[in-house]
């Protein structure tokens, strides 16, 4: 049982604030992804949970035990590093056995656990090699095996796949998901790759500028962004935004059209590119670039002077310069407060 509770954790590096009072609870055996652009504080948060960084403020609890004053070795965690950190002077076997030997596990048990995790990561034929004789993908497998062999309550992963090439990344992603689900550990996984985040996570914490902007299930983060930032960060292409003018009584004037929206005086209209379809009435868009992608066509256009993207069915032939009318799916329209940047329910 290892629930992780983070209470008001903040971190300053001199004058720079990397984390502003973060609160987060990660359930036992949950796969939590910390997602954000570089410099958003996601790695700092992970390192604070690992004990490699001391928080300037706040508390970290793992499995009902306050750990923020404990060294990494006393926290019941294992970590997988971005550059693998496989010990170059030890064989793969000794790398995986390293933590077990430190924990004074008996020889036969070390042997059993190393072989089992090596098998799990498909590296049993590499046990006698040194890291210099391994490819990047193999090193990554060793690093994961080394973490798993400890049978930790919590596994922390710092962009573990970012140094692999695209094909390998895809393969490792699926494998990691299976292995970690089976190991029944709580996992915190840091990445800047939203596809990785969506595919792996039970929940995603989207981070920006040292804050957690939204922590929710992947589909929820995608469909109902809690803030404008989340909509503009997640999704490829990201969400479209258009200024809206209140017509009163919950009606909004957007690019020459009238939409039903929230009560209030100021709001911004938002719609995902795939939630648009050509229609007789709707937003009139002047097509700039057409990119046929196979299953669908990506259209970059201008609506009311704003850049606007739509993902349309590839059946329809569209040429640049053409003016098309795009109707948004009504229940997919989202509204954001231009002041606070937060979603308006």
């Amino acid at each position: 049982m290892a629930e992780i509770v983070i209470k008001g954790v903040a971190k300053d590096f001199g004058a720079f604030t990397a984390l502003h009072s973060v609160d987060l609870t990660i359930a036992d055996q949950e796969f939590m992804v910390l997602l954000g652009a570089s410099g958003c504080g996601k790695t700092t948060l992970l390192r604070i949970i690992a004990g490699l960084e001391t928080p300037s403020q706040g508390e970290v609890w793992i499995g009902g035990r306050r750990v923020d004053h404990l060294p990494p070795r006393a926290r019941g965690i294992s970590m997988v590093f971005q550059n693998y950190a496989v010990f170059p002077h030890l064989t793969v076997f000794e790398n995986i056995a390293f933590g077990l030997r430190m924990a004074k596990v008996t020889g036969t048990e070390v042997d059993r656990r190393v072989r089992r995790t090596a098998e799990l990561m498909h590296i049993e034929q590499l046990l006698k090699r040194y890291s210099g004789e391994l490819s990047g993908g193999q090193r990554q497998r060793v690093a994961v095996a080394r973490a798993l062999a400890m049978e930790p309550d919590v596994i922390l992963m710092d962009e573990p796949l970012s140094n692999l090439d695209a094909l390998l990344r895809l393969e490792m992603r699926a494998e990691l998901k299976g292995v970690l689900a089976e190991s029944k550990t709580t996992t915190i996984y840091v990445t800047h790759d939203q596809v990785e985040a969506m595919s792996l996570a039970d929940r995603i914490s989207v981070m920006n500028g040292g804050y957690i902007v939204q922590a929710d299930r992947p589909t929820e983060v995608y469909r109902n962004p809690a803030a404008r930032f989340v909509g503009s960060f997640i999704g490829n292409p990201p969400m479209n935004f258009l200024p809206a003018k209140s017509e009163g009584a919950g009606r909004w004037h957007v690019a020459g059209q009238s939409f039903a929206g929230p009560q209030g005086s100021a709001a911004e209209f938002a719609i995902r590119p795939e939630d648009l379809h050509p229609s007789d009435t709707g937003l009139s868009a002047e097509v700039r670039v057409v990119e046929p992608l196979g299953p669908h066509t990506l259209v970059t256009a201008q609506v009311a002077g704003q850049p606007f993207r739509a993902v349309l069915d590839s059946d329809r032939h569209i040429t640049p310069g053409e003016v098309i009318t795009l109707a948004p799916v009504p229940d997919r329209i989202r509204w954001f407060d231009p002041e606070t940047q937060k979603a308006i329910a």
């Binding site: 990494p72 294992s78 010990f87």
Partner: protein, 280 residues
């Protein structure tokens, strides 16, 4: 480029001249180092009568009379033994003090770090003759004068800046993540250092130690000023060589140069790495 036509004549000539200059420069530098060494060994390993002879032979006659005479010369073995003791002690002192400083510089941020680095190099900016007199006075007062430890302390001071900067670059070349991984796998700071950093840094530390050994072995000024009875080989030879016969001088010179040459040759790979050529 598929154009294979020869470049115009002046350009070709300039290139040829450049190449000639380059190889001439290389040859000159190599001769600059090798000729004295060759001279030393040929004369040391030849019969005393051949030393003054001309022309010289390329290979020495391997007559060990000079060397034998040198080794039997009153006080030489004692001086040789003193040199070894001082050099080994210097090696231990400079690594014991230099490696922790190098580690701290590479792993921690502390106020005055840059200033400290400059300061380390600054210790080499004081000419030894300037320091020798006050040091001698202080050593006499504390009873360190004419002792192996006293001289080793001075030599360690000379070798320390190198030990600090070399180990600094050595430790900087070892990713912090390796240590952090060790911490998450159950090590405390010291265990992680011993189990992960040390095995990786050891060849370089050895090289840096050898370098300290050579610095001490070759040092003559402090050795001559601070010792009387317990002279090291350099100080002993400085004192007695100008009054001894020529074959003996060559044998002494060879004895001085040889350990340095052998050691530096053995660790040359790491010396390059230390200066950051291979490491970064």
């Amino acid at each position: 480029m598929t154009d294979t036509s020869p470049p115009p004549a002046p350009q070709l000539e300039a290139r040829r001249a450049g190449r000639f200059l380059f190889y001439a420069g290389v040859a000159l530098l190599v001769l600059w180092v090798l000729v004295p060494i060759w001279f030393l060994f040929v004369n040391a390993l030849s019969a005393p009568s051949e030393v003054t002879g001309f022309p010289k032979r390329i290979w020495p006659s391997f007559d060990l009379a000079s060397v034998q005479f040198f080794l039997q010369f009153q006080g030489v073995t004692q001086a040789l033994w003193n040199s070894v003791k001082v050099a080994v002690l210097t090696m231990i002192l400079s690594i014991a003090m230099g490696a922790p400083a190098g580690y701290a510089l590479s792993r921690f941020d502390f106020p005055g770090k840059e200033f400290f680095r400059v300061l380390v190099i600054m210790t080499r900016a004081f000419p030894l003759p300037l320091l020798a007199l006050p040091l001698a006075v202080m050593f006499i007062r504390t009873g360190l004068d004419d002792t192996v430890l006293g001289l080793a302390l001075v030599h360690a001071m000379l070798a320390l800046p190198f030990a600090v900067l070399i180990t600094f670059s050595l430790f900087s070349g070892i990713p912090v993540e390796l240590e952090e991984a060790a911490w998450t796998l159950g090590c405390n700071r010291l265990q992680a250092f011993i189990k992960v950093v040390l095995p990786l840094a050891l060849p370089g530390i050895m090289a840096s130690a050898v370098f300290a050994f050579v610095i001490s072995w070759n040092e003559v000024f402090a050795a001559a000023v601070l010792t009387i009875e317990n002279r090291t080989l350099t100080a002993f030879l400085l004192q007695s060589l100008n009054v001894s016969p020529l074959p003996l001088k060559f044998a002494g010179g060879a004895a001085l140069v040889m350990p340095a040459l052998i050691f530096i040759f053995a660790v040359r790979k790491y010396l390059f790495a230390m200066w950051g050529i291979a490491n970064r």
